[in-house]
C-alpha cells in the first residue's frame, strides 16, 4: 500500500533528478544555475520528507538562497551566453566517462541493495515533532561537535579573508599595467 509519503518521495525524486539532469545538460550556464536552484529546493523537500526540518530550512536559505545568488552573480559578471562547445569531445574519453560513472552508480546501487536493506530492515523510529529534532540537533552541535563547529567558524573567517585576497591579487602582467 503506497502512502502519500511514498508518492511525495517519488515526486520529489523526479523533481531532483530531472532538474539535476537539466543542470548538466543545459547549454546556457544561467539555465544550469536555475535548474540547480530547483534541484536544491527538491533536495530540501527530500530533507523534509525525512523529518529534517531544520536542515531543510538551512538548505533553502544557504544553498538555494545565498549560494545560488553567488552563482548567478558570477555568471552575470562573465556575461556568458549560449556555449558552442558545452561538452567535452572525444569518443573514447566520452565513453570512458559515461562508463566509469555508470559503473560507480551500478556498484553503489548494487551494494545498497545487497547490504543496506539488511542493516536497516526495521522501519525507522518516528520522531515526534520538528521542534524536538531541532533541539536535539542544537544540543549535539554545541556539545559533541563543538570543536568542529568552532573550526567551521574559523574556516569561514579564513575563507572570507582568502576570497578578498584572491580578488585583490595583482601582479605579473597586470601589475605592469597599473
Amino acid at each position: 500500500m503506497l502512502e502519500l509519503a511514498d508518492y511525495t518521495f517519488y515526486f520529489l525524486a523526479a523533481l531532483v533528478l530531472i532538474s539535476g539532469i537539466a543542470v548538466i545538460t543545459a547549454q546556457n550556464p544561467i539555465f544550469s544555475a536555475l535548474w540547480l536552484a530547483l534541484t536544491m529546493i527538491g533536495v530540501a523537500g527530500i530533507f523534509v520528507s525525512l523529518d529534517a526540518w531544520f536542515v531543510a530550512g538551512v538548505q533553502l536559505i544557504v544553498y538555494a538562497g545565498a549560494v545560488m545568488v553567488l552563482f548567478v552573480m558570477v555568471i552575470m559578471l562573465f556575461d556568458l551566453r549560449h556555449e558552442i562547445h558545452a561538452f567535452s569531445r572525444g569518443i573514447l574519453s566520452g565513453f570512458l566517462k559515461l562508463a566509469s560513472a555508470g559503473i560507480v552508480l551500478g556498484l553503489i546501487v548494487g551494494t545498497v541493495y545487497r547490504s543496506a536493506e539488511t542493516v536497516f530492515a526495521p522501519p525507522p523510529v518516528e520522531t515526534d515533532k520538528m521542534a524536538d529534532v531541532t533541539k536535539a540537533l542544537a544540543n549535539t552541535l554545541f556539545t559533541k561537535y563543538i570543536f568542529s563547529f568552532e573550526v567551521i567558524g574559523v574556516l569561514l573567517l579564513v575563507i572570507a579573508i582568502g576570497a578578498v585576497t584572491l580578488s585583490r591579487i595583482r601582479g605579473g602582467t597586470h601589475a605592469s599595467h597599473d
Binding site: 525525512l50 529534517a52 556555449e83
Partner: protein, 109 residues
Amino acid sequence: MPAMTEALLKVSLNHYLVLSAILFTLGMLGVLLRKNVIVILMSIELMLNAVNITFIAFSRYSGNIDGQVMVFFVMTIAAAEAAVGLALAVLIFKRFKEVNIRYFEHLRG
C-alpha cells in the same frame, strides 16, 4: 508479483540511497563532461547535495541525529568552497577572458 512490485516501490532507506547515488553520478558526469567551469562548480554542488541526502537518510533511518549535524557542516563547507571557487573563477576570467576549461591546458606533460 504485484506484492513484489509494491514491496519494491514502498519507499525505504534504499530508495533514498539510490536517489542520492544517481544524483551523485549526475554530478560526476557534470564534472567530467561540462566545459564551463561554472557548470563544473555547480556539478560539484550536486555531488555534495547527493551526499547530504545520504547523510540525512541514514540519520533518519537509524534515529541518529549526528547525520544532520554533518549535513550542517557539509553545507557550510560547500558554501565556503563555492566562495573560493567562484573567486578563483573570477580571477581566471580576469586573466584568461574565458571560463572554458579547454583553455587551461598550459600545464601538461
